[in-house]
Symmetry: C3
Subunit: 266 residues, 3 copies
């Protein structure tokens, strides 16, 4: 998949400004992931500046992880504004399924905005599709790879957006084409906000690439960085630090060598 | 103290979901401490989802570090809801004594909620007992070990909750039994939110253990991890990173070997 | 510049309590920078406690990075209270120029407060001076050293405060005297909030030193720490961690040896 390496180069050349309305837990770490990789993050949520900020931004990332009424209002206005300004939007429905507020907020964002990529774990995306699975924090419940693939395809068709269902194997679909990404490492589950980081990085790629390829590129690049980080540091504190190192160090050559991505039959 | 190692194993087996309403400064680091140790953190504060989130959570941690009127309202509702749902609550009265707002908020949380464990430094707990000591940031003022022990016992009786007064030696009391924990390292004072981390970890143990033992287990486990981290990294940046590594690596054998905890006479 | 080493010693002896009203992205990292260096951070923004908290604080740092109407109200009250209590205030106008809300908020803080030091990048300070440059996230646009020096002097005269324009070379001016600081490393641009860290550290120095010297001391100390960190760790994750190590390890001897600071002609 030559184009992943090319997406990475193109993204770094552009150094896209990624506007984030995200949760308090990961504001620092997603900003650092974007910076390490070569994008330029900005975090802004005041309604009085959304129009201007999105005017200069190349993409918008919305993450509902620590939502409340004030933040929901900002998120809604942000996705509407981004739609009007034709900026790509990536949505992370953190905790959808755990509470009605989260499920409903995510669904409303999908409705009011023009979402380019929806990224969540199995439980979150399943909840949005009306399943009554209860997500457990940011974890995914047990499910088969086949179910994850089907979920990505079905959710993509339902919501009219690219959907990435991430887990041991990630499935990314635009309803027609579907990719499986096997890069990554389970140690990512021991560091908070790694899902949010890959969502933020998807925003950076969405600034230079169409949504399906943006999502796949982000998952491969992030997954490879995680594998390299784990090679150097098998414990969560140092692993987390090395993850930024490898988001900085990763290049097209490395991606081509270790990417494990394939197109799958629907 | 065989039971500390057993608490750790039990906690890891359960992987409790710990709901945190905490301060902006430490949201990321307390989530990472919980994940590294083997618990599952969730941060949620919207009043519209507290009931549902606490319904699936195994414990609640409330930390008033960056309180304001909106967050206080969430905290109050959360402790009342947790009481009704019979979920253990751990309270960290950050900065009590520094301002009336903090002292009064902490006292009101103690009154409205069913607090299992109250953890603070000497100045904070003393302020809650009506002393007019001024706490200085998150630091403890000068005091003797005897005073700390007495304070833990007295506050425990006054508030009807287990109280952990942390400092060079930590004292934990339920008003009848009192433990002294000597694990830990002064480098913890050079990293923000380490007190908040141990409070969060107390929440994880409170999900599988009665409050007195939960508080002691958390302090021993965190203190041992800090000692091991310092052995590897005597400067605050790398020490902080290694702390997560050791929260992950620590096991019952290590705890039994290096725990320094004893029951003390009241 | 013997006095920089002396400022550092004096600051560490005093261990000033620095009150921060700052942005969500950097609350943790600026607190850690202050702690590593030897100051004592507190983050508090509730209007009901500002008076008391500022009463015990030695300096106030205001950073508008994730401003909104609630936080702006706190910031305004904080700078007015600090003025009344005669506490030095350091202002970081993050993103001024990117949106009108940021530019206007920063200007209003300069007007309502008694700002000791204003620290920003070229684009931010230029925007405050009425230039219509668009800042790009936290980056500085292209400009010459001469322009940066002139901007620092002009802004200082205009706003009646010490101004630090940071970039490849930092210029600090009180309108009469101007210093150029060449310490630092470009890897700082790959870690979020490093500008905010140096602003916070300026607050610590402002508690023990007049504003011009406080700003220069902070920039030299932080820049030297960054250089040492990079020597040990040339990638952003580990570099970031080592930065705290070196804020802790730096001392007057090291400062004297590697400081690159000079007074420049206006």
């Amino acid at each position: 998949m030559e184009w992943i390496a090319e997406s990475l180069d193109r993204m770094r050349k552009k150094r896209p400004l990624v506007q984030n309305i995200t949760n308090f837990v990961v504001m620092n770490t997603t900003a650092n992931a974007l910076l390490a990789l070569g994008a330029s993050p900005v975090m802004a949520h005041a309604r009085g500046e959304l129009e201007e900020m999105l005017g200069i931004a190349d993409a918008l990332v919305v993450n509902i992880g620590t939502l409340d009424e004030h933040w929901i209002a900002s998120m809604m206005e942000a996705v509407r504004t981004a739609k009007r300004l034709k900026k790509p939007v990536v949505l992370d429905p953190v905790g959808a399924g755990a509470t009605r507020l989260r499920t409903e907020t995510a669904l409303q964002l999908l409705e009011e905005g023009e979402i380019a990529v929806l990224r969540g774990n199995f439980g979150e995306i399943a909840a949005l599709l009306g399943e009554h699975g209860k997500t457990r924090g940011v974890d995914s419940a047990a499910y088969s790879p086949d179910e994850a693939r089907e979920l990505a395809i079905e959710a993509s068709r339902e919501f009219g957006t690219v959907v990435a269902v991430t887990g041991p194997v990630d499935y990314v679909s635009d309803g027609e084409k579907t990719y499986a990404v096997e890069n990554g490492h389970e140690m990512l589950g021991r560091v908070t906000g790694t899902g949010c980081m890959v969502t933020a990085i998807t925003g950076a790629f969405a600034a230079v690439e169409e949504p399906l390829r943006a999502a796949v590129s982000a998952l491969v690049v992030f997954g490879v960085a995680a594998e390299k980080a784990y090679d150097e540091a098998p414990y969560p504190g140092t692993f987390h630090v090395k993850l930024y190192d490898w988001l900085y160090r990763i290049d097209g050559e490395l991606v081509k060598k270790v990417a494990r991505v394939r197109q799958v039959e629907p």
